[in-house]
Amino acid sequence: MNKFLKWFASDSFIVSLAAIVMGLLLGAIVMLIGGYNPIDAYGALLTRVFGDWYGFGEALREMTPLVLTGLAVAFAFRAGMFNIGAEGQVIMGMTGASLIGIKLTGLPWIIHAPLAIIVGALFGGLWAALAGYIKAKRGVNEVITTIMLNWTALFLCNYIVRTFLLLEGNQRSVDIQPSASISIGWLSEMMGNARVHWGIPLAICAAIFFYYFLWKTKQGFELRAVGSNPEAARYAGINVNKNIVKAMFISGVFAGLAGAFETLGVFHYQSVYSSLPGYGFNGIAVALLGMTHPFGVLAGAGLFGALTYGSAGMSFDAGVPPEIIQIVIGSIIFFIAAQGIVRFILKPVYKRKKEKVL
């Protein structure tokens, strides 16, 4: 408990909080210049997210893939890699889940849904592991391979959907079997048909897994050592290449889960995407917001998801155009990424505080 309190007083927490406040302030200034009332606008944002059960449920739904892609990027980052490919891994995860969810029939829910989730996760994991393998074997930078694999995944999955799963005359697959759905029907009904699903609690479990795996297990120790100093890890007898592939695999599993949950819990079908849907790129922002810590990612996804989802309220109730909302979101991320600026602004405050202590 004490540790928990300490975390709230910690430097990084205060800086993050200040960054959010500064971002909101900058957004407010932009809105004022544009002639909109920022108080109304932020009020509308909050109302949309917390105003009723439907909004809250949908906001949770919005946050779930962000948590998972955020974890994916953060996990790879902790192991010293920059996974830009969460995007492609999400799509692979969707496809894996769709294939199982559509093609397998006659299975009971208790087997079908978990199987679809696992296959989706594996698709994502293996797709990322491919980039890891190329890095380990050939030394090709994962940034390049993962970006390229995003497009490969997009077109490959579009091909699979078009060829094997297409709903005739539409740009999407047929619906998954009801036995593969992970929607929580009773809760959804209670929340005004918000698309809540089992992926939401599972995403939180994934963050907890991330934490325990990385900081409490032997394998996590290896991954962190490889991540912070691969040379020293090699000298210490750790198999660096194996760990690179492993880290990318686990990172991809997180992203694959995000895709599987979207298909099985939200849409119940898979679209043919004309361009990358953006899950993975938002994940990079979330990982950054959360400072690549799993619980930070939870918080970051919460914030990012609430802003994205709530922003429609800003345009609906306060008439703020979506472009200005993008500026608000952008400025919060900017301030968190550019912590130097925040620290600079906070400096006088800190100084006074320290002097008092002395």
């Binding site: 544009g34 002639g35 949309r48 739904r61 005359g169 079908y269 004309s274 345009s315 200005i324």
Partner: protein, 346 residues
């Protein structure tokens, strides 16, 4: 860069709106009820909303046309209108729901992408009314509007077949989907009807928001000797126009046939031979008017073709197309309306 321009435009717009608000109670398009005055009595309480697809409200295509139609209705009838932009596929449902919860009398889903979301929401809210463009939703409270794009495309095909000098004609589609296929098939049929020897090539981009791909596709077609390209590609089509403008500036004689609305108004009649009009605005106004009049029934699917003026050739075509060709177009139009000719759709 583009965003910055957009933003400054928005700021300017917002600023001017604020100024306008000082002297006028008709402030923002999204103005809340009450400020509208009592101009048209009971219809002022009617609220109509629309949800865009991921293209957004400034897509220079059907989202924009739809919103302009609704704004025109607001002006004429004093009803309240509002739109919500969808950032992703997942936004469709909550956005539709937002209008339902706010008690809107009609909620439009713009584009076939909203089909499954609108189906779900319509089932969950049987007491609310919906309408959708470009897709058929089978529910008693949904009015679906489809267009016979093949018929309109046939007419511009006639123009292309008559006007080509190189005897090569191209087509750029935004996605290889059944809807866009209708454009291509109708267009091709129109060309063949008047010029069976013309060579026809169709190219598909990977999306409706890829101007760069549009530009590259147009460049390929023009390099192959085509002098007229019909684009049915939304934002991707902007690239087709830009390529044509570049070539026109270098003295090459190339043309683009625009789509959905009269694109000569935007890209100039220097390159815009004609446009295949898809009167989404007619559909929006017709169905919305039913709600205002209280005659909305729902549960039906209307297909707007040449005979309803749901599709057609832009009025400004006479600038570049000689009268004899337009006369020919008129005669084909009559034959299609009368059923003498059936334009293929697949």
């Amino acid at each position: 860069m583009k965003k910055a321009v957009k933003l400054s435009l928005f700021m300017l717009l917002a600023f001017s709106l604020v100024l306008a608000a000082c002297g006028n109670n008709n402030s923002k398009p999204a103005a809340s009820g009450g400020s509208e005055g009592e101009a048209s009595g009971s219809s002022s309480s009617v609220k109509i909303g629309m949800v865009t697809d991921t293209g957004g409200v400034n897509d220079k295509s059907f989202n924009q046309t739809s919103w302009e139609a609704l704004q025109a209705l607001q002006k004429d009838k004093g009803i309240k209108v509002e739109y919500l932009q969808s950032k992703s596929e997942a936004d469709y449902q909550p956005n539709l729901n937002q209008f339902v919860k706010d008690g809107y009398n009609l909620t439009w889903g713009i584009g076939f992408a909203l089909q499954s979301a609108l189906t779900d929401i319509a089932k969950q809210n049987p007491k609310s009314n919906f309408a959708i463009i470009d897709a058929a939703v089978d529910a008693p409270n949904v009015e679906s509007v489809l267009f016979s794009e093949n018929e309109g495309s046939f007419l511009v095909g006639v123009i292309a077949g008559k006007m080509t000098k190189s005897n090569k004609i191209g087509f750029v589609g935004g996605a290889d989907s059944p809807t866009i296929k209708k454009f291509e098939v109708g267009f091709k049929a129109g060309i063949e009807a008047v010029n069976p020897n013309a060579q026809f090539t169709a190219v598909y981009a990977s999306g409706f928001d890829k101007p760069d791909e549009g530009k590259a596709a147009a460049a390929t077609l023009y390099n192959d000797g085509a002098d007229i390209v019909f684009q049915a590609a939304g934002g991707t089509g902007t690239g087709v126009f830009n390529e044509a403008l570049d070539r026109k500036n270098q003295g090459q004689n190339v043309w683009v046939i625009g789509v959905d609305k009269d694109q000569s108004l935007e890209f100039g009649d220097g390159v815009t031979l004609t446009s295949m009009m898809k009167r989404v605005d007619v559909a929006i106004k017709t169905v919305s008017q039913q709600v205002i009049d209280g005659t909305f029934k729902g549960g039906t699917t209307t297909t707007l073709g040449l005979k309803d003026d749901g599709v057609g050739v832009a009025d400004t075509s006479s600038k570049n197309v000689p009268q004899d060709v337009l006369d020919l177009v008129q005669s084909y139009k009559e034959k299609i309306v009368s059923g003498e000719i059936t334009v293929p759709a697949k």
